[in-house]
């Protein structure tokens, strides 16, 4: 619980942060709620921490041109409490409100959560379901990556050294929901399903499904999406039945075997779909 010695620098702007990261070869720190626990166990030993949490303008939820932009250092608590999100894109507020405990939500950020990409974290699945654009900035400029392409593997994301997530853009969807089986110690997801629907007259026109907790990284379930299209509430259970098969190799740990996860995936996808449908 005692980290090795490190330097600490506070960035004043995104460019300043990128310059400091490049010069020091260090790591960005936002909420510190994934990084600091690793450092205390000496599993991560960065020589320099570049604090991005105080960069002006990097946090906050705002609406622009029919899209909602969430700054990278917006905390889970801010997302959970955002009236804009609760009204227009409740899935994000709902998922953020289920993260960990109040301390975690008050410190942890959306940028940190997506960049860290813990296999059991909640927001990656939601970002996939919302087809979020992840905005990235680095030495060589800015780029945007779709959430489903951003998560590549076990703690592996499309982010180069010295690059930062600066914001997440989503097109708000009301009929979207997140359902999660909590791991009772950390409250990370044993299985978490995020579903965004386009519904007309009670019929699902199209669906987008993100799954977390079950596999090495958050994934999109395109097969389930296809099966859901054209279904009404009574067709949901059958449509999600193949969800576990589509997920492939499943995680197994102290808290849940692969078999149990396999059984829980369709349960939570179904719950998310039902809740999303209920939102109309």
């Amino acid at each position: 619980m005692i980290p090795v010695a490190f330097d600490y620098q506070r960035a004043t702007s995104v460019d300043d942060a990128i310059a400091k990261l490049t010069a020091s070869g260090g790591k960005a720190i936002a909420g510190g709620h994934s990084l600091v626990p690793l450092m205390k166990l000496r599993l991560s030993e960065p020589g320099t921490l570049v604090d991005i949490s105080k960069i002006p303008g990097l946090s906050g939820v705002k609406e622009a041109g029919g899209k909602i932009e969430i700054g990278a250092t917006t905390t889970h608590a801010e997302i959970a409490g955002s009236k804009l999100l609760r009204d227009k894109c409740p899935i994000l507020a709902e998922a953020a409100a289920e993260i960990g405990d109040p301390q975690v939500r008050n410190r942890g950020t959306i940028g940190g959560s997506l960049a860290h990409a813990d296999p059991a974290s909640d927001l990656p699945a939601v970002a996939i379901a919302l087809d979020a654009d992840i905005q990235i900035k680095g030495r060589s400029g800015a780029r945007t990556v779709k959430a489903a392409a951003f998560f590549r593997g076990f703690y592996d994301v499309d982010l180069a050294a010295g690059e930062l997530i600066v914001a997440v853009h989503v097109t708000p969807v009301r009929s979207a929901a997140y359902a999660k089986l909590h791991q009772r110690a950390s409250h990370y997801a044993i299985v978490g399903a995020a579903v965004a629907l386009d519904v007309k007259g009670g019929v699902i026109q199209s669906a987008r499904v993100g799954l977390t907790g079950a596999t090495t990284h958050a994934i999109r379930l395109a097969g389930v999406e296809k099966a859901l299209a054209g279904k009404k509430a009574d067709g949901v259970a059958a449509a999600v039945a193949s969800a576990a098969g589509e997920a492939g190799d499943l995680n197994a740990d102290l808290h849940a075997s692969a078999d149990y996860r396999k059984a829980m995936i369709p349960v939570f996808v179904k719950r998310a779909v039902e809740r999303a449908l209920a939102r109309g």
């Binding site: 619980m1 005692i2 089986l181 075997s257 059984a263 349960v267």
Partner: protein, 790 residues
């Protein structure tokens, strides 16, 4: 206009808010880690990362070269200045070196230590120590261990038996000279119903909010040792530190400053305490060690971990004829201070609240390559309650009887007290049926049954559980504790009439600064704010045993009351002289001392106090001053009891259990402060519910603790509970003048079995008869889906 002085309220029995809290919740408490002594250095331990092996080589050279490192000690170095650690029970015990000398026996055992300028350097240097081990077979399963498989941990303890099969109960002579099975055999032969079940009361990590910490300061000039420690019993610490350092007890002062919880795990005197003391003495400088959370998971003793093979024999009408309980305690790698004694309390309480004609228990304690166990809130009694109450529940289910009525049928009746149990305890007082009735009414038991049945018809999995408990508290007569079972109190009336009192209890969450002040304020009829309770410093508190076994009120509270009575008598004598009245007519009232029937003569309390210190004239035959002390040795333990009821719903699709209701009716005798009592019960319930539902220390086959952090070990939070519904009954004990029994541990006893019984009830449609804790969703899901039945 005349004003009369406000009348002081009686405080005993009032919901006085804890005076400890304002400082604690504002971060103004002083814990060991807040203390600094000039010249102080920091200790960090290198700990074994394997569970069992011999140490082939320790390379400390890199650590020694680091800037700021003052000294490095290996186990061999420490063995030269510190003998193996003693235990506090009469059982045979293998040598236990504070720092492993040649063999490590659990992951987390200290193998070396560093003394350095600061904590960071110390930790870096400890990390730089390289230890090479020759691994030995790792013993994890206690039942395999009993057959010596896959290896033997201590060479003089074949088959890893720390305590080999001790019988107790009906037909067993106290000295084991005679074992007569007639009664037990007869009970089982005559039984119309018999139930047998293996149950596991699994291992827990105590997890006090404040991990442990020690600051040891040997002053070479004075030849004294001061040791600050996050402990529950500074007087025992003082005794042990003196003994192990070859010092007289007059040379050692032990201080427990603010202590952030103990839950029994801070009774033990630990390796780190001994090591800091001998290292401070050797180097002539103060040294401090603060446990971090990762260490706390493996280096502080664990709790529970007892397997019970339980057999119960009864008639068809529900009358229990006999009980057998074969206990196997997995005590981990070593005997600690009270380790071996804890499971004996499980034996002692095997009667539960029932008049059972024949009981036989046997106990085997087994070494495994895990962190040692010791006391944990309830210490042996929750295990007994769990085994007995689960067996009673299974019997009720088998007989298709209401679990409440089965209990009613078998209760020890009020006219049977004091009741000599088959296990050798003498229950002081009890009226179990009254408490059962209050609980059934508070819970609306019939209504709950209807609610459950309705839910069942809707296809929901809802269950009810009921459990009764009795525990042994107020420890106890000196015959039952190696330290002695008394407690000490001293009351001093200061010159200004304020009261300073010291207690040998060492509260760390129990609120005795408040409750004891309530008592003394009433005794002297002075304002609550005028009374201060000091504790936790052997330099201030002359004698004491400490806080454990729900004993503070019953034993230490009584000692203070007796000391108070002595001082009060002397103060009355001074008042009699000053007021020229007879001592018998002196009354303490409302902050004054006066004469019966002559209110005008009354003097302020402070005036009499002042006179006692400047006694001109000194009444004949009297010494100046107002201070006196008392030791109180209770004639017996106390036996509080209660009834807990729960309703649980299980998600059919996921197996996730939700505790919907918990009703706790506790009888702790007379209550000094019901608010604090409720707080104690809340805390106990949290830990009992935690064990039943989400807390479990899990080891893998390599002897590694898989739940070694809060990421994997679930600590219960407020959101895990429904609002507790509480009530109490009052059956005073005759053992002490307050009639108070003790309540610190009670919450852990009833909650655990009543929740598991509710889960079994909820899943009874699937034919399940017993489920081992914790109620992991996957486990329940398997039962729902046709597997994992027992």
């Amino acid at each position: 206009m005349t004003t009369s002085a406000p009348v002081l309220p009686k405080l005993i029995g009032e919901r006085v808010k804890r005076r400890e809290d304002p400082r604690l919740v504002r971060g103004l408490g002083t814990y060991v880690d807040d203390l600094k002594v000039t010249g102080m250095r920091h200790v960090a331990f290198k700990r074994s990362d394997i569970a069992h092996g011999t140490i082939r080589k320790i390379d400390t050279s890199a650590a020694e070269k680091m800037d700021g490192v003052e000294a490095v000690f290996t186990g061999a170095d420490i063995a030269k200045i510190l003998a193996p650690m003693p235990i506090g029970t009469p059982f045979p015990s293998p040598p236990h070196y504070a720092v492993a000398a040649d063999t490590v026996r659990y992951a987390g055992e200290p193998v070396a230590l560093v003394v350095a300028a600061d904590r960071y350097v110390a930790k870096d240097a400890a990390d730089a120590i390289v230890v090479t081990y020759d691994p030995l077979p790792v013993v994890v399963d206690p039942e395999a261990a009993m057959e010596g498989k896959p290896g033997v941990i201590h060479k003089d303890f074949p088959n890893n038996l720390a305590v080999a099969l001790v019988p107790s109960g009906t037909g067993v002579a106290p000295d084991f000279s005679k074992i007569d099975n007639t009664a037990v055999d007869k009970a089982f032969a005559e039984a119309e119903v018999k139930i047998s079940q293996r149950m596991v009361n699994h291992r827990l990590v105590p997890n006090a909010m404040e991990p442990r910490g020690v600051l040891a300061h040997w002053e070479p000039g004075k030849e004294t040792m001061t040791i600050w420690s996050s402990t529950q019993n500074p007087h025992i610490l003082k005794t042990m530190i003196a003994a192990m350092n070859g010092l007289g007890q007059h040379q050692v002062r032990a201080i427990a400053p603010e202590v952030g919880g103990g839950f029994g795990a801070k009774i033990n005197i630990y390796a780190e305490e001994y090591v800091c003391s001998v290292v401070s003495k050797k180097l002539g400088i103060p040294v401090k060690w603060i446990e971090d959370r990762t260490e706390a998971f493996v280096a502080t003793t664990h709790g529970r971990d007892i397997i019970g093979y339980v057999d119960i024999a009864a008639r068809k009408d529900g009358k229990v004829l006999g009980l057998k309980m074969r206990l196997i305690a997995d005590i981990g790698a070593y005997n600690m201070l009270l380790t071996a004694a804890v499971p004996t309390l499980t034996m002692l309480m095997a009667n539960g609240t029932y008049d059972i004609p024949a009981i036989r228990t046997t106990l085997t304690e087994v070494f495994t390559n895990k962190t040692p166990t010791d006391a944990y809130r309830g210490a042996g009694r929750p295990e007994a309650t769990y085994f007995v109450e689960r067996a009673m529940d299974m019997l009720a289910r088998e007989l298709n009887m209401d679990p409440a009525e089965l209990r009613r049928k078998n209760f020890i009746k009020p006219n049977q007290f004091p009741y000599q149990t088959q296990m050798g305890a003498v229950y002081d007082s009890g009226d179990y049926e009254k408490t059962l009735d209050v609980a059934l009414k508070a819970a609306n038991w019939k209504g709950l049954i209807a609610e459950r049945d309705k839910a069942r018809k809707e296809g929901r999995l809802v269950g009810l559980g009921l459990a009764f408990y009795v525990e042994v508290c107020g420890l106890g007569p000196s015959s039952s504790l190696p330290t002695g079972g008394w407690e000490h109190g001293q009351v001093t009336i200061e010159r200004d009439g304020r009261i300073t009192a010291t207690t040998g209890a060492s509260p760390h969450g129990q609120g005795n600064e408040t409750t004891f002040a309530q008592m003394l304020a009433d005794q002297f009829s002075v304002p609550f704010e005028h009374v201060t309770i000091l504790h936790g410093d052997t330099g201030i508190v002359k004698q004491g045993i400490g806080t454990f076994g729900s004993r503070s009120q019953a034993v230490a509270g009584t000692a203070l009351h007796l000391a108070g009575a002595k001082v009060k008598k002397k103060m009355a004598q001074f008042a009699a002289a000053m007021l020229e009245a007879s001592e018998d007519d002196i009354v303490f009232e409302n902050g004054t001392i006066g004469v019966k029937g002559a209110p005008a003569k009354a003097k302020p309390f402070a005036a009499i106090a002042g006179y006692a210190y400047v006694p001109v004239p000194l009444p004949q035959g009297m010494e100046p001053g107002l201070s006196d002390e008392a030791f109180f040795e209770p004639a017996n333990n106390t036996y509080p009891f209660g009834c807990h009821i729960s309703m649980l719903e299980i998600d059919r699709e996921t197996g996730e259990p939700t505790l919907v209701k918990l009703i706790a009716v506790d009888d702790a005798g007379n209550l000094i402060n019901p608010l604090i009592v409720e707080g104690q019960i809340h805390g106990g319930l949290a830990q009992g519910i935690g064990q039943a539902m989400i807390e479990e220390a899990v080891y893998n086959d390599e002897g590694q603790l898989m739940t070694g952090s809060f990421m994997d070990y679930a600590m219960p939070r407020a959101t895990d509970f429904p609002r507790f519904e509480m009530a109490s009954t009052v059956t005073p004990t005759p053992v002490n003048p307050f009639g108070a029994k003790g309540v610190g541990e009670a919450g852990t006893l009833g909650s655990t079995p009543c929740i598991v019984s509710a889960a079994v009830d909820a899943l009874s449609p699937f034919g399940v008869k017993h489920i081992d804790m914790m109620l992991r969703p996957e486990k329940l899901w398997k039962i729902i889906n046709g597997g994992g039945r027992s």
